[in-house]
Structures are given as structure tokens and as C-alpha cells.
Symmetry: C2
Subunit: 218 residues, 2 copies
DNA sequence: GAATTAATTGAACGTTCGTTTTATTAATTT
DNA sequence: AAATTAATAAAACGAACGTTCAATTAATTC
């Protein structure tokens, strides 16, 4: 046998991507064999190598693609929010909704960092830091405007990221709560963590400016 | 060659356990080969099978041992705390201190659940649930005594577990903060999440009893 | 319709995997 | 000191691994 009737490079490539995500998320990158992957796609193992030079590049492509999509989606979403408080709530809602719909990507992103080559790992780690820093920037901003009262910005950022990412470990679509309900409850918990409250402002030069000293601890 | 001078089953077994923890934590269970492990121990691959029937039982033994130690240590530690507030703070401090000193165990516990056989996985999942439920019980208790004001107990429990376990991802012993300092900051954040505050009590039948209705949301 | 390019198969490569078997020697018991 | 048990080495097992190569056929271009 050789080329099959109806074969199409584009379709095969995306079939590989889809199957790879399922397989890597389920059994792990190391445990997934190329023969397993080929079976899932319905093709011989050798066919894979027309689309990727090797197994490692497949993993990197999956993880890189996910991070690119996360960053682009948040970039777009964040434009609708203006105050730090609004941005903070928007971030939590975005993070939860976006990731709940991409469980495989999230799982791979959390579990397979160590399976990347050092060079590839550095790239993913950098992209992830960029995303997490966008939350940190919101906290910084909210402290300046007196919207938030936070003791340690770095730790609070990490705590919130861990808290909202941990959802993916237990969430099932048949949960007692919908994704939106869960998101709202986590927004509430997030607000507690950043000490958010409505604050007094005063007009100064035509703009609302917060009253009182910056609060760094509650 | 055969039995080596000075060879001792007890020492070899613990050398295997130590080396296995390092290796599995670093490269992952699937990626660790028995030859790698044997090299680390300074022995031939076949020697391993005197101590474990196979690779899977080694992984299970490592994970089971860790969970047993966690549960026993918290059991002992929790006896020093009495009110829900005290127990809550004690839990967070215990969790952070205990796990920071056992990074390899924590990493293995988080990453290698899927490498366990279904039967073994069920056992570990059950032990983990038992541990996490001890936090949930504290939150339940604190709501009854009006020490805490929590909207959703199950979600708050998960949020706190995720928050304090996430520390192991980034913590390094040369961090700007010591473990104890980090623990105190996370206690503060935990208290925000459970809405803890000093509450009014009234004497009733010789005991302090909280005043006012149970608060289920802030 | 001939030439070229795209997509795939089938077979094989050398390597490594977890594990078993057998032999051998050290330590312990009798 | 003989017999027994404990602890290992050395070699090999078949199976599976990621990957390469040559052959073959479908689709496209000229």
C-alpha cells in the first residue's frame, strides 16, 4: 500500500493534533507510544514523521499553541475591563471559563513541562510567567488605587493562580454547580484574598482619586 | 560475581527507596528505567527484584508511605489545637512545613497518580480524601461556632488546599522568605478566605457560646 | 497524458525496556 | 566446619520503543 485515496495532509495533521492531546492528557507523554498515536489517527506510525520531525516537537507544539491562545484570548478579554477591580474579576472569570473548556491542554501544561527539552521548556515557562504577571500587574494597580489591601503581592498572586487553576483537578461538567456559578464563587473568594472593598474617593483635578494612605496589610 | 562483602538487605532496600524518590521526582516514573535506578543504588538491575516484585509496587510503596506519614503527623499535630480557628491555623502551618520538607514526595504524589494501577490509585485517592476532609471538618466546625463566615464549604476547602499546595511549585529554600514566614502569610490569606474574625460570645450553661445567627456568606 | 509532487504503507533499524533465570559468594545458623 | 540462608552478579528473554528508508500510489501540475 501507499498513498490512500482521499488522503489530505491538512486533515491528517489536525487528526494527529487532536489524538495527541487526548492521549498525552490521558496516559502522559512518556507513556504514549507512537504506535498508540498512529492507531488513534488510523494511520501507520511512519506517517507521523511527515508532520513532525519527532515526538518532542509534537509535545512542544501542543504546549506552545495552548499558551499562545491563552495569552491572545486574555489580551482581547482584558480590554473590556477598566478599573483594577473590574480587571481582577474579569481575570478570574476568564481563567476559569477558558481553562475548563480546555482540560486536556491544562493537564498537559501542568504535567508535561518536565518532558520538554531544556530549550523548549524555557520558552513555555516564559510564556506562562507573562500570563501570570498580568494578574500581578492588576494587583499592583489595585493597591495604587486603594481598591485592594494586600500584604504580599507576589504571594497573593501565586495563591490566586493556584486556587483558580486547582479547579481543573476536580471539576466535572455534571458538577452540582455550573462553570459560571463556580466562577462567581471564586471571584468572591478572590475578592477576599485581595481585601477588596468599595472605597471613598475625592475629586481632584477632575478625576476620582482615592482617599487615605495606601494599605499594604489588612 | 555474586553476593558482595558487606551487603545488607536492609541497607539496600532503603538505598533503593531513597534513589527511587529522587529519580521519580526528577524524571518521572515512566521515564525512570530500572537500569538508571540500579546505577543510582550501585547495584545490578536484577537485585531490585529481591525487594519489590515489580516497578509498579515500588511507586505504590513510595506514595502509600507518604500518605500514611502525612495522616499520622497531622493526627498528632492536631491534638494541640482546640478551637476551629486554632485548628485552621495549625492545619495551614502543618501542611506547609511538612510538605516543604518533602518536596519529592509531594511532587510524586501530584504527578504520578496516573501511573498507578487502578486498584492502587483508588487507595491513594481515598487516603488523600481523608486528609483533605480533615480541613473540611474544621471549616464545618468553625461555621457552627461562628468563627468563620463561608459561602461554600466544599469550594473553600478545595481553594485552600490548592493554594497551600501550590507553594511547592515555586518554593526554594533560598527564597526571600523563610518557610515560617511564608506559612504565616498563608495563614493570613487563609483567614481571609474563611472570613475569620473575633466574635462576641455569651455565657450559657457555663460555656462560651457564640451570639447571633450562623453566617453562611459575608 | 506525461511529469511531478504529496501522502502513505510496510518493513526494518538498532536500542532500550521490565523482568527472569541461573550461578556464585557472603553471612548466618547448626 | 558443615549446612543453610541471604544477597548479589551476569547474562539473557521477548517485547516494545522512536525512527528511518524504500517502494508505491493518489493528486496535482504542466
Amino acid at each position: 500500500m501507499a498513498r490512500t485515496t482521499g488522503s489530505d495532509g491538512g486533515r491528517t495533521r489536525s487528526a494527529i493534533d487532536v489524538a495527541a492531546k487526548h492521549l498525552i492528557a490521558r496516559v502522559g507523554y512518556e507513556a504514549m507510544s507512537m504506535r498508540q498515536l498512529a492507531d488513534e489517527v488510523g494511520v501507520q506510525p511512519a506517517a507521523f514523521y511527515r508532520y513532525y520531525p519527532n515526538k518532542q516537537e509534537l509535545l512542544f507544539s501542543v504546549m506552545r499553541g495552548h499558551m499562545d491562545r491563552v495569552l491572545a484570548a486574555w489580551e482581547a478579554e482584558s480590554r473590556n475591563a477598566h478599573t483594577a477591580l473590574e480587571k481582577f474579576c474579569a481575570f478570574i472569570r476568564f481563567h476559569i471559563r477558558f481553562h475548563v473548556e480546555r482540560r486536556d491542554d491544562v493537564h498537559i501544561g501542568n504535567m508535561e513541562l518536565r518532558s520538554l527539552s531544556p530549550e523548549n521548556r524555557a520558552i513555555i515557562v516564559e510564556l506562562r510567567a507573562r500570563y501570570e504577571n498580568s494578574l500581578r500587574d492588576i494587583l499592583d494597580d489595585g493597591i495604587d488605587t486603594r481598591e485592594f489591601a494586600i500584604d504580599d503581592i507576589a504571594l497573593t498572586t501565586r495563591a490566586i493562580i493556584a486556587m483558580i487553576t486547582g479547579i481543573m483537578v476536580w471539576f466535572r461538567t455534571d458538577d452540582r454547580l455550573s462553570v459560571d456559578e463556580i466562577a462567581e464563587k471564586y471571584v468572591e473568594m478572590g475578592l477576599r484574598l485581595v481585601g477588596a472593598k468599595k472605597i471613598a474617593t475625592t475629586k481632584k483635578g477632575g478625576r476620582d482619586v482615592p482617599v487615605g494612605p495606601k494599605i499594604r496589610s489588612l
